[in-house]
Symmetry: C2
Subunit: 615 residues, 2 copies
Amino acid sequence: MIEHHNDGLSVMRHSLAHIMATTIQHIWPNAKFGVGPVVENGFYYDVDLGETKISDNDFQRIETEMKKIIDLDQPFNRTEKLIEEAIEWAKNTEQPYKAELLNDLKRAGTTVAKDLDIAELGTIVEGDAKVETVSFYTNGDFTDLCRGPHVVSTGKVGVFKLMRVSGAYWRGNENNAQMQRIYGVAFATKEELVHHLEMLEEAKKRDHRKLGQELDLFVFSDMVGSGLPMFTPQGTILRDQLACFSNELREAYGYQKVWVPHMTKRDLYEASGHWAKFGDELFMVKSQETSDELVLKPMNCPHHTRIYANKQRSYRDLPVRYLETTTVYRDEKTGELGGLSRVRSITQDDSHAFCREDQIEDEINNLLSAAQVLYSTIDMKLKVRLSYRGDGDTYLGDEKLWKSAQEQLKRAILSNKLDYFEAEGEAAFYGPKIDFMATDAIGREHQVATVQLDFVMPERFKLEYVAEDGSLKTPIMIHSALLGSIERFLSVYIEHTAGRFPIWLAPEQLRLITVNQEEKTIQFANSVLEKAKEYDIRATIDNGNESVGKKIRSAEVWKVPYSIVIGEKEIESGMVTPRIRSDMTVANEHSEHEIENFFRTIANEAKSRINKSSL
Amino acid sequence: MIEHHNDGLSVMRHSLAHIMATTIQHIWPNAKFGVGPVVENGFYYDVDLGETKISDNDFQRIETEMKKIIDLDQPFNRTEKLIEEAIEWAKNTEQPYKAELLNDLKRAGTTVAKDLDIAELGTIVEGDAKVETVSFYTNGDFTDLCRGPHVVSTGKVGVFKLMRVSGAYWRGNENNAQMQRIYGVAFATKEELVHHLEMLEEAKKRDHRKLGQELDLFVFSDMVGSGLPMFTPQGTILRDQLACFSNELREAYGYQKVWVPHMTKRDLYEASGHWAKFGDELFMVKSQETSDELVLKPMNCPHHTRIYANKQRSYRDLPVRYLETTTVYRDEKTGELGGLSRVRSITQDDSHAFCREDQIEDEINNLLSAAQVLYSTIDMKLKVRLSYRGDGDTYLGDEKLWKSAQEQLKRAILSNKLDYFEAEGEAAFYGPKIDFMATDAIGREHQVATVQLDFVMPERFKLEYVAEDGSLKTPIMIHSALLGSIERFLSVYIEHTAGRFPIWLAPEQLRLITVNQEEKTIQFANSVLEKAKEYDIRATIDNGNESVGKKIRSAEVWKVPYSIVIGEKEIESGMVTPRIRSDMTVANEHSEHEIENFFRTIANEAKSRINKSSL
């Protein structure tokens, strides 16, 4: 996520990108520069050094040189050039990437600039329509095409650290030259930097890709392709339990499960308007038997309108509420795919309500309650953004309807006592929305659920209901997802819990550890296993020939919430002393329990979705 | 399904196709003939009559003429011609379709003939490799290119009836000319014909497309495309309940749910060998962002091998059993799609076990038991076909393994006391299999479940386990599905039950009918509804202002298993007198029940998946 250049920290980070580029030019005078924007917590610069490959080993040298430039406290000077002069400059200084950006800017001004994401890539657009001049910033002997702003001088940049270098295609296009992207982080104080590095260290331990492998949750295969994870039995339990919880919460408010296929003729998206807007982000499907032009669904709403439209609806039937946890497919660039954070097979806990204008507040209320129950159960703090329409005429739908809807959204947020902020002009063109941000255990914020009003799609699809006065009216659509994408949610949640899943989610809830491999012991352990299954407890037996100590450690490595050791004593007494995973208990002493009582307790804990052991 | 020409009934039906063609040529002398094969219960002939359109109104005239030819008892005479002479004949008689078939035959002999399905389309291949002569049959003044055999004379053809006429593309290709396909049915005796027509009448009433509409179970949309049904909340309950039952039955035998995406790079199918065999039946997926060559999955096994292969497996870990109810996509020709019988989005209750050779019998035993429980619960009689390898070297895998496996399959069938028959040479090239046929309420047989051994795929994917002696061995794979395709199964099951679903499947299990719209009545009905939900009963309220009689009839039309009328008496006594759907009860008198007792009974009936009411 690229941040805006408008706060002090960002300005400082961007100045550090220039200071790093200055150093790189000193060390490698033939360096060709791409773009050097600010990113979360820091900055990067893309450079083309020909055959030279930078590695972590070069970081100290670059950092030392950067510190020298900081110590020199060189002022940042802004100048302007006519675009033709700027192109001349790029030619003379042998900066072909800058020349390309400038030529694109010249060719069609801001319009193209926006399309090309040049603005986001860190360069500059002056004026509103036609680009006539561009700005440059100079510090010492280094000059760069740059929108700015910058700190006053190189001495005013806080503390920084270079983090890593990776390959990056010029403009993100795999057909272009591959450059080297050098990342750094930067903060105002040393303490913040240290805290950030510690957080990163912790995040590394919790990396969901690493835990996914260790806990055997999901699998990638080169033959299947990137961004297409497959889930093992353990991972599938996580998926199913989460989806089931999310569905339950909405079924309580009258949502009903429906089912639609994963593809459609493109006609559906021509009707919805998605074809014109997102046509090139869709996976096209070619039928070899017919001339049908098909696509994989990137969302479910257009399909769901077809189910709504199949019957005549009266004002008394509304709200009609559909729910479907299903996988949509989006053609993400391979380079952007990683673990479960960004995938091509996106399973959404999607839902759509079709309602009257006077029903918006109640519907939103229900969805907010559901989201609050979900996120308090999984122990993440929620914050919401309420996005309103802005000025201008890019918004579709009746202005009075917008006003009423926005007020209803706000009332629902207030009555749910949610931590919220308002964002004018951040609504979609088709309706206001609420986005949910959840904070994880190491302080990172993730966008998760969303509730989105839609005044446009029902009209596009000519959806109707018979109003009380007998006239035909158009319903309003409410799109929502509580988890968002299950894959992305899992990437967040695995790291939030560090793989220590609460009892209701744990793929393995209970492990039975035998003290020996005697017939009698194994028989008893098997009978306990059968009993556990009667209570719907996900239990396994470890009756291998390792030592009990080793088996206990293995249960810890697998982060199993409960384990019980089964030996002579347990067989005779029918009593067990469960070991409880450390994060689930405050008590140090373990107490004895009758086996069935213990199972009843676990089953109840799972049912009530608690995080701590009640033993 | 095209039947073979080798039994008397089929021979007779094919002769009737010739007799019909004779008549058509008499009535429309310019008729151009396509092919006229035998089909289930009868025959058809494809004809091109130019601008003339045949309708049901012409059937009597054609039938009368046919009967005349039957009365004439013309002998069927076989002659042979060299293929060049035959082509000459087709030209002289102005039969361009026959000419095309003959030219194709001449061009490349039987090989091409097979590829083109010409044999199946009803024409003839003489000799094994190169076609030199073809045979003709003549009755009266009508001569037709035909492999035969035929009855001795036109008088020996039993009873028949023309049924319908429909459009059919020449050779099933939508780019070819559209012909008219005239269908007839034929039987040896009048009784059989009458029985068949009665069965058809009953089948029409039960047509799942009609019931699907009436009971609001599924929806098609032109914008989404043919063969891509969407399921309403009611239909989704059917899908989910069936899948859940099928899964439960296998989970009891250690199957674990996994999840894989709906697409893959084609590399996966190149490794499995499917690409070479079925490449042109796949839906190709085009990524616009990358150069990845992707396809929609037409089956799940190759993906599932990737999950198996992700870990080292020991002989003690086997069998590893995966289960997944998921949708696969097959590029069926549009013309072959109809209702849920044949769809492009095929949801399979798929499972795969990876096991050792000595575990085959136990695994098959478990799957047969599961299938038997399922089909006895849904009240359909099962018959199984056990398919063995035949002679020849088309079968892959060790011969000793085949022998052992076939014996294990048979023992499992015997110990499950299944009605079975053996079919030599009907196995797939990669292993023997068991197919399940279920008979529906009006006597039709449908292929449903399947259990298939696979000796080849594990080797193709280099799957391994560490044997007891430490060596690496290849597991055997068992593919199975109990319902088969959920869509196809529903098409059968909706017609089997005529939409009268048993309590555990009924989308609406209970309807509460209010006698009036008074506040008190509606309030009480709502409290009863809430109570029903506590028992997980799928209940609705009908509190409209129609008469009680009309509401009761509506509940009958919707085939709701239970309904209760709520009025003064019920409110005061807390007792209800449930109306039970007629097929679920033998008792004529209705008895009173305390409300919660009644709910407990329904909940138990649903849980134990019974077909009759226990009230």
